[in-house]
Symmetry: C2
Subunit: 454 residues, 2 copies
């Protein structure tokens, strides 16, 4: 087999990169669990008709076929596809297990998803998502729309100590947008949202044209939509500015008022709990997703051009079985996109590429068992250890440790002499007892720390 | 959408089951890392021709197709399939990254794999495997064949405290089998192994017939093979019994001698490090897998009919790029099969289904922010907390905690009175300060404990 090459769009990390990724996942998991979210894992596949239920062809589903399948048994409507997000499978899981869950049900889910899109910078065909959602049976109070983005911001902010840039959560409310558009006389709300969603890509002039051509807006209405989209800010002043704008265009709408009240609550609560993190941004549209209240996007400060690394919002109908409707609110982090950037930009690194803190040297193959015993004694006290591959000259064993990034080498004492341990970085070598010696706390496990870019 | 039903072969757990599974994964990961194995994660897909390289059609690969793919671009030899194990992707990863890895390279890998086989008890189409392997560049000393099954046995034994039955690791050595068969005059070693592999399923009479029909054995040779397969035991007596058998059938073989010496070393080391766990069993054949030295299977004591939950062995050629050959040795735990049994047999359970230790009650919606502040203060000290969904009557809030399995409910003091916290299991309610109160250690997080079957 010739040396294989990577597959575009299917990222993999070297062991050091995986330590960074695992740390990110561990920190997210811990924060989610501290907030009472239960871990759920769903199968990777869903029936194809369920994946396409909302017409999500833009997400390019991968369809599965059994290589040995009987062709006569194919295409019976039981075709399976790989999930392209964790929301569709979670909605199905809630319906399937509703009788066993207590609502409002809080869950986190960290899994790979697959999209057959053309790979490009920051867009992968296989990537890890980390989602949190709260779902109610029949109803779900608004305060969860305040809580969820704050939990996610807290989880991402907990990564700042290892060198992850601060995050800024951009929030909007569909009710504000819809109420304003309808109040202006624009009834094709979807077409307006679709146009506004392109603002960052094509700029206001082109969006104005789109609004006229595709949403049936007059030049004046288009200007109003663009003025709304231009409003952003970290405090309640934003709400006042929207009210002023509405007054100026003679827009009056209960939906707009309701949305502004909700947006104001979110901004006020965020200013108390995570000052400076949440910003209202009235141009956030979230394209065609079926949100009905708050919507969220999250950027890394200083890396805004990477786009949103964490998005979500409120669905009035996350799932429904006819008898009961399940509203939900949640956010999803694109972990692979985040980790890829952290590694490629040198923002975060691991202090070593192996778990091992100590390599126990082997004096000769006949005494390997003694080295194994020292290793077991150290491991019993929670120190990660491996034993040298061969009883080579000690210089060679030290070079092996160095190549693997292992900081300490342990030498067995000859004929009753005590053991010794060498810090191969400083060269310092001291007498040591396997029943008592401790590595410095900073060396016990590989740590994740700010990288060279800092 | 009507209530969906589970897909056969694609297991999913309720949150309580997922806590058990996560605990199993955490314990395996910790043991592997204590032994210096680095975590690696590979993409879920491999080129189809690589998946079929060893003719593994019995593992029934799932092939992928992009729903939106241009038909003209299909079947260009770049068809992808889901991996059916973690060995094929790891071999490819080693070749692809050889220049960045220090050999012998120790890695663990915990991921889902997919096989399109007919689902049946304990066999899934999607399941989690947890693998450890050591791979050398050019050569790999025998002592790793002793180390690896002991690491895995230690990892699985670490689960006994939560109610997992003890494991028994059954070991054999391909060199013993091959040396003995060739010494007998049977040169189609694969055919013999294939027949012996069926012993547990069809019994010795049928295997004797298979040996005659498919491996070209005489009745006498078939008897000899069955006598070898009948040998098992926990100590070196096994080696002597094989030597006696070989002498009786006039078999003399350097390969047999080498295999017996290796098997003896493994048995001796295991008796010192994990007494009573490793048993030599000369019928272990591992079917058509391409092992060249030690082979391993692992059964749960008392659940032997479940089959092997952890298997592996030595490959002289795990991978090769023409210039360098990479020998390896490793084992793979079928985590889903294990967890499925632990849950269905009531061997293991979680003390609750949610991470949450404390539900902070809400007195009225206007004071929700005070409840949020108490929750934040408790979380800051590592206590998992959620806030009540609504300012309902306290009785209703307590019932909500009870339904979710949350042991404590926190009440805010009215008008300067101190807060109080109630253990809803005992009914005991005490004055508490959010800056200092600690739950009992056993209640802080859900624990995994022996289930009702114990």
């Amino acid at each position: 087999m010739a040396r294989p090459t990577p597959l575009s769009g299917f990222p993999e990390w070297l062991p050091e990169g995986r330590i960074v990724e695992q740390h990110v996942l561990d920190v997210l998991r811990r924060t989610f669990e501290l907030h009472g979210f239960a871990g759920v894992e769903t199968r990777a596949v869903e029936p194809l008709d369920q994946l396409l239920r909302k017409g999500e062809t833009s997400k390019e589903v991968y369809v599965l076929r059994r290589l040995q399948a009987d062709p006569q048994q194919e295409d019976r409507g039981d075709t399976l596809g790989l999930h392209f997000d964790l929301t569709v499978p979670f909605a199905r899981y809630v319906l399937e297990n509703a009788g066993h869950l207590a609502f409002p049900f809080r869950r986190y889910q960290i899994q790979k998803v697959w999209r057959g899109e053309r790979p490009q910078d920051g867009r992968f065909r296989e990537f890890i998502q980390a989602d949190i959602d709260v779902v109610g049976a029949g109803s779900l109070p608004y305060h969860y729309e305040v809580e969820l983005p704050l939990v996610m911001a807290e989880a991402l902010s907990a990564l700042q100590e290892v060198g992850v840039p601060p995050v800024r959560v951009l929030v909007n409310n569909r009710k504000v947008a819809e109420g304003f558009y309808r109040g202006l006389g624009l009834d094709d709300v979807e077409a307006v949202l679709r146009s506004i969603d392109k603002l960052d890509k094509v700029g206001p002039e082109v969006v104005a044209e789109l609004l006229v051509e595709e949403a049936g807006a007059s030049a004046d209405q288009a200007t109003a939509c663009l003025e709304l989209a231009a409003i952003s800010g970290p405090d309640e002043g934003v709400v006042d500015r929207v009210r002023d704008l509405a007054k100026r265009y003679d827009v009056s709408s209960d939906l707009l008022d309701e949305g502004l009240e909700e947006l104001g609550m979110l901004i006020r609560a965020a200013a108390v709990r995570l000052p400076g993190t949440v910003v209202a941004d009235l141009k956030i549209a979230r394209g065609l997703d079926y949100y009905t209240g708050s919507v969220y996007e999250t950027v890394l400060v200083g890396h805004e051009h990477l786009g949103s690394i964490c998005s979500g919002g409120r669905y009035d109908t996350l799932a429904s079985d006819g008898a009961t409707t399940y509203p939900g609110v949640g956010l999803s982090v694109g972990v692979s996109r985040l980790v890829s950037r952290l590694l490629s930009a040198g923002l975060v690194r691991a202090t070593r590429a192996v778990p091992t803190a100590v390599l126990v040297a082997v004096t000769d193959e006949d005494s390997r068992q003694r080295s194994d015993e020292v290793a077991a004694a150290l491991r019993n006290r929670g120190i990660p250890v491996e034993v040298a591959p061969a009883a080579a000259k000690f210089g060679k064993q030290i070079r092996h440790a160095d190549r693997r990034g292992i900081p300490f080498v342990w030498f067995l004492g000859a004929e009753g002499a005590p053991d010794e341990v060498k810090d191969i970085r400083s060269g310092e070598q001291v007498v040591a007892d396997a029943a008592a010696w401790e590595p410095p706390a900073a060396d016990r496990w590989p740590r994740v720390v700010p990288g060279d870019a800092h």
